[in-house]
């Protein structure tokens, strides 16, 4: 169980940390890199709060060994904002629709929704329900979360059409 220096590409920047083979990605992100926006809530892959994107795909960082994520493109909630600080349309929609209450599931919801919209830019309500069914929220009753994702999807598509 040798300690080693792990190299992680998180939110576009390469970060190094001393890791051990048994360490989980969520712990490295939170405790070693210091990005505490990603939450650990069940540590068994059942709630989705720890969801991050690895190579664009949502994974439970509490079920992922950190060593397996080395040198892969990792995105966390801290990486959603644009370089100039402007909020991602999903983040803005979550604020506008009051789609977050206690906020503990929010990072995971946003990352799952990001992956969903990248794969399916024009989802139906049912698509969003299915896409987020692995993310548990205890506060909102989900209605406003789904509203927010649909609203953000529309805005992202509209903005793309303007630039095109």
């Amino acid at each position: 169980m040798a300690r080693q220096i792990g190299s992680f590409k998180i939110n576009g920047r390469v970060r190094e940390a001393i890791i051990e083979p048994q360490m989980l990605l969520v712990d490295v992100i939170r405790e070693k890199i210091g990005l505490t926006g990603t939450k650990r809530a069940c540590a068994s892959g059942n709630c989705g709060a720890c969801t991050v994107l690895v190579e664009g795909l949502p994974v439970c960082s509490c079920l992922t060994l950190a060593i397996t994520a080395q040198n892969k493109d990792i995105r966390t909630v801290e990486g959603l904002r644009a370089a100039d600080g402007e909020l991602h349309p999903l983040q803005q929609a979550f604020i506008d629709h009051c789609a977050s209450q206690c906020g503990f599931c929010t990072a995971g919801m946003l990352m799952s929704a990001t992956a969903l919209l990248e794969a399916n830019p024009r989802p139906t309500r049912d698509d969003v329900n299915r896409g987020l069914s692995g993310n548990v929220c205890r506060c909102t009753g989900y209605v406003k979360i789904v509203d927010a994702v649909l609203d953000a999807a529309q805005k992202i598509v509209a903005a793309r059409e303007v630039t095109a």
Partner: protein, 788 residues
Amino acid sequence: MSEHLSYVGKRMPKPDLAGKVTGEAKYTEDLVIPGMLEGRILRSPHAHALIKSIDISKAKALPGVVCVLTHKDCPEQKFSRSTMAEALPEFAFSGERQDQYILSEKARYVGDWIAAVAAEDIYAAERALELIEVEYEVLPAVLDPFSAMAKDAPKVHDDVKANVAFEMDHPFNTGDVDKAFAEADAVAEFSGVNSRQKHLHLETDAAIAYFEADSRLVIVSPSQGPHLAKKHLTRRVFTDLDDGDIRWISPTIGGGFGARLALGVEPVAVLLARASKRPVRVTSTREEDFSGYSSRTDQHQTIRVAATKDGKLLAVEQKIVSDAGAYLSHSATTSIVNMQKTLGLLRCDNIRGHLTVAYTNTPTTSGFRGYGNPEGAFVFQQALDRLAEKIGMDPMEFRLRNLKQVGDPSCFVPSVLEHTKLEECIRLGAERFGWSQKWTGWGEKREGRYRRGVGMSILTHASGAGGFLLEHSSAVMKVLSDGTLNLIVSPCEMGQGILGALAQVGAESSGLRYEQVRVTTGDTDVTMFDIGSHASRSMLVIGNAVAAAGAKVKDQIKALAVAKFELRQVSATAEQIDVREGRVFLTDNPKIGFDVREIAYDAIYNFGAEGGQIVATGSYLSTSHHPNHQAAFAEVEVDTETGQVTVARYVVAHDIGRAINPLLVEAQLEGSAVQGIGFALTEDFVIDPVSGEVLSDSLLTYRLPTTMDVPDMDNLLVEDPLPAGPYGAKGVGEAGLVNPAPSIANAVYDAVGIRIHSLPMSADKVLWALRHGDQAAKGSSRVSGQHL
């Protein structure tokens, strides 16, 4: 004066969300104090066992371990996880039994706290737990309240006779109940029990304790009421400390729902920090939260009701046997509140209620959003439907004929009902739902695999517990040089949006800009005393305190504006000036005016002036519980081949007084309705009947609702301002969890003619009842003997 409102009633974004969507918001476990140790707790593997000896030598010898503590290292005073003893009048103390130590001298449930470790890192702390050697003498355990109260049952607490932790007749027992039942045209009865719904706040229990200058103790934890927790901890546990010796910081909270009203691991963090003289963070896993932290109290009930044939409710009798678990915490008080809300909902001259709370060797139960009301409604609203069926009356009409009116005795403390819009709620909800078309009468047989049915339920709930709890609160406001309003208030933001609603009240009452309100909360050194966020109280009690402070700030701005107008050669008295949305202007000529920051800046930075930043405090004492009300209508579809119940439509109308922010009110109603649907259909807390172990100890085995379980919902607001409320507002936080289970249960009966007597109404139970008929179900009510 005609009412102009700039912010109240508007759908404003809530201020805590910016940090939550970016990941910047800091929760307890996100904080790191330099030199901080990791604390972990060793929990009992036995439901009931004497501790013969504990050998900590191997654990202590492990490199990285700083201290290992057991019962011998704890204060000798007993305390309760509930902090409410400090907020109650002396006469109500008996429901607040102080019955436990930080670390137990005897294991009373699987998960009871036996020892605590602090180590340099979490890995060493975990390993140390494995190295503690405890010799147990396993005792016979009692795992349900009825066997606990049986003759010669093992005792959970040696000093408690027959394991009866608490017992009372309802204080409002009235009339001649036996005579009323004997003379009634129809009598109905329903027995049932709710499950131990878990709060399931996604942030697991955690606390940090450390020392700042002068060895002053700082506690950081997701407490819903840090002022009261601090008082409780110093008065009952660490009695060498006093109120001023602790600073308690409640940072961003990852969900509460009542769980954080009781103490969690904070006393262990303090114990370890004092022993190690180091900062200590104590954490727990999801599995430990399931077995060792709180849940709703399972209340076994029988409710009998009687009526005349034209639908006048003559009598209600409620018997409750509650299972406290190993320690009392909030289980007695939630059961008392159940009686108040259940027996106090409708007009009735003959009322009798009796409550017994028993100790068992199961995890401690506590208060959960709704605080006894959902437990009672599940049984009472089904008893009412059975009675309506017996007299052949539409269940909505039956309820309408028995509603309390203004001037009737209220449901809580012996006070008068001053305001109710429950009838309007029922009529509005029924219209939206289409009740008159969908409800087709009693006993209609439906065919086919999928059968639909409708049901309804009504409730009354409190907006604080004025007259019973210490319902006073204060707010502080200071105005910064750019016109920013720094609002310092006590409620804990668990996600419910209260800081946003209070910011709206603050901006409205002071005349400053909502966008420039900065709310400070959660630190007992900064905020004024307040008993915490619970009982749907914050909007009414703290809201009134904020409005009072805001009025004073506005007056100060007006007084300072007189001179500013003079400089502009405008002569005006303070009475002729108004302030709105950050602008000072003449009431009769609003075009003449200027930005409030001119005054705010001068108040601080003008060398020539008298000095004196604009600052004000506001206080409020609530003397009533100002009930809010709600009606709900559910349509379900039952799959008769699998027993699966799906909620297709759910309509709620809520008596809100006035919605300070309708977006936040909707968010509360939607969230609590879905929690209520989980309570009704899927959330099952299963305790092994032999070992006492919690079997549903993960999110895989304990099923929370997901996006796939949300029905088509409408949440309607009935707005008629409550004179005592801030801008007319009442509370809303808890009510939404009350109606789902009974309205869904009544709809299931309408669909397939069966009633399920224990929550959740899971597919297996529904299928069993469909195959065998609910009257033939195994077992019977332990309270009344009626078949379950």
